[in-house]
Symmetry: C2
Subunit: 359 residues, 2 copies
Amino acid sequence: MINVTQTFLPPIEEYNAILKRAWEKKWLTNRGELVLELEDKIKNKYHISNILATTNGTLPLQIAIKCLELKGEIITTPFSYIATTSSIIWEGCHPVFVDIDEETFNIDPLKIERAITPKTSAILATHVFGNPCKIDAIAKIAKKHNLKVIYDAAHSFGVSYNNQSIFEYGDVSTCSFHATKIFHTGEGGALFTKDKELYNKLYYHHNFGHKGALDFHGLGINAKISELQAAMGLAVFPYLEAIFERRESLYKRYQKELKGSVQFQKIESNCDYNYSYIPVVFKTEKQLQDVVNLLNNNHIYPRQYFNPSLNTIAYINGDVMPVSESISSRVLCLPLYFDLAEAQVLLISNLIRNCISNE
Amino acid sequence: MINVTQTFLPPIEEYNAILKRAWEKKWLTNRGELVLELEDKIKNKYHISNILATTNGTLPLQIAIKCLELKGEIITTPFSYIATTSSIIWEGCHPVFVDIDEETFNIDPLKIERAITPKTSAILATHVFGNPCKIDAIAKIAKKHNLKVIYDAAHSFGVSYNNQSIFEYGDVSTCSFHATKIFHTGEGGALFTKDKELYNKLYYHHNFGHKGALDFHGLGINAKISELQAAMGLAVFPYLEAIFERRESLYKRYQKELKGSVQFQKIESNCDYNYSYIPVVFKTEKQLQDVVNLLNNNHIYPRQYFNPSLNTIAYINGDVMPVSESISSRVLCLPLYFDLAEAQVLLISNLIRNCISNE
């Protein structure tokens, strides 16, 4: 069976050796030494101003919305994982969708301004599949209209844009360290901001507002990551470069094999990409369905990331988004992970090519 | 150094042996087999209708509030950990405090009715230090006024009331499996409800509303617990009876040594208690401070659970709660954990007695 992804597992002995330090300290959570070390390692490797590791990748979005005191409408993309929109709604704001660019799959900055109303408080955009948004254009619009910018960078670990970590952009950036991600802590995530004062506020929000044992800064919940999770991050960390390399090689192999048969995502220039996903878009929904059926029959399980287009979900009920809905109905993320063999990429590509040419 | 608590750590080899199963399955989250096994074990041991393990003990409160569609005012206790109130505020409701009983430290049901207004939607009460609330009286009031009841049972793992697990009471009960708790998963928690339909709703809310890969039931966020955390729960589980026994013995030793010197919490009858904390109340705030200073000088660090009284926190700004504020200013939780030696209990008790008698 070949799934769309497979969790990268470091040797269990290496995980255990790190975890032993938590046992020795008898300390399993509340920002133990493993969490601090993990944050430091990520910060130093990517020259990041401030990082706060969290227990998953959704709480950072919720905390960012609360912390920036966003109200009313938040402009967002319909082509993302559900968490991007559900965080907005959970936190009492209204998602206003802006359609995506059909080549990059990211929110189309040319369409943002017409969606702005007096109620708009922020733009929450996703760097889809790790591909950076039109960051400069979005920054310009935000400045002009006095809006906050949050980037859902769930897929963007390791990506840089204009020679800076992608996490350095926007008022706040968030990441997911979920088991299916390039870098992971089982479940996990992080908050990033260049603004030290804002960082402090995010920090308090993620730990009940605690200012020592008896005093409180203000509102907070629990988004703390445990040592069990941090130990996993520290065990995966030494393999990062090997993981990036391997994925790049498989990604490029897919591109070579499927060139002309499918549409690939256009990756932004000025970007050091992380090859986190290999989304391919078929000509028609029927073609996609035929391919999915054929692959499934061969025990290969790609995933329709992101389908449905978020605006079409019943409880969300957003405006029609023609581009996003069209891409959503025709996009497929193919298997891509460290342990995937090149022969498997060839097999999958062959099956897809044959399926398409038979039509 | 003796802290108020110390995390119970099973032998690391036992944790590793369990975790190996996650490695073999290459599955670290999204309700893996370790999570399911842990839920089953808890459910069977305590004859619980429905359990949903979560990544911490605060998200269950948030999810319960959202899931029960609570609005307006929620009646709650000022004598609890901050999470009880901050969850209410985070979820857009207003906490209305009702003072506590000076003997049980739990919300006083006699004072609940006068706090009910047309805006009241629920009662969120804490079984403080694991001591059951006046469950029958609260149920009666809730029924009369058509209010939902949520029990914050963060401290109540293993407690039964009227021969039923404490988690079976209220519309929803929540628990914390934080590292400092009797039973723990590093960070973790759980939701409980007897109502299967409500359970399904809580379930969807905790996993983004997913109904399969492409469909959604409704709103949701991420409260999933990982296999790393579940493995810890499974490793602690076999030690539960030994943990309860040890704590009971130390608890009773404190009671014997300090009888007449301090006020103890009155534990409800009809209750099988878990000895999760040993709170003692001093005659005056000064006496408490003198004791804290003396203990600290001896490298002993009890904690002022729960101080401050939640109504007095600046951003919360609730009505005056004389009993809670009085108890808060005079209460101290003494060290109590599995590895605490009886000699240490004697030492701590002697220090306290001497300090008090010198005044």
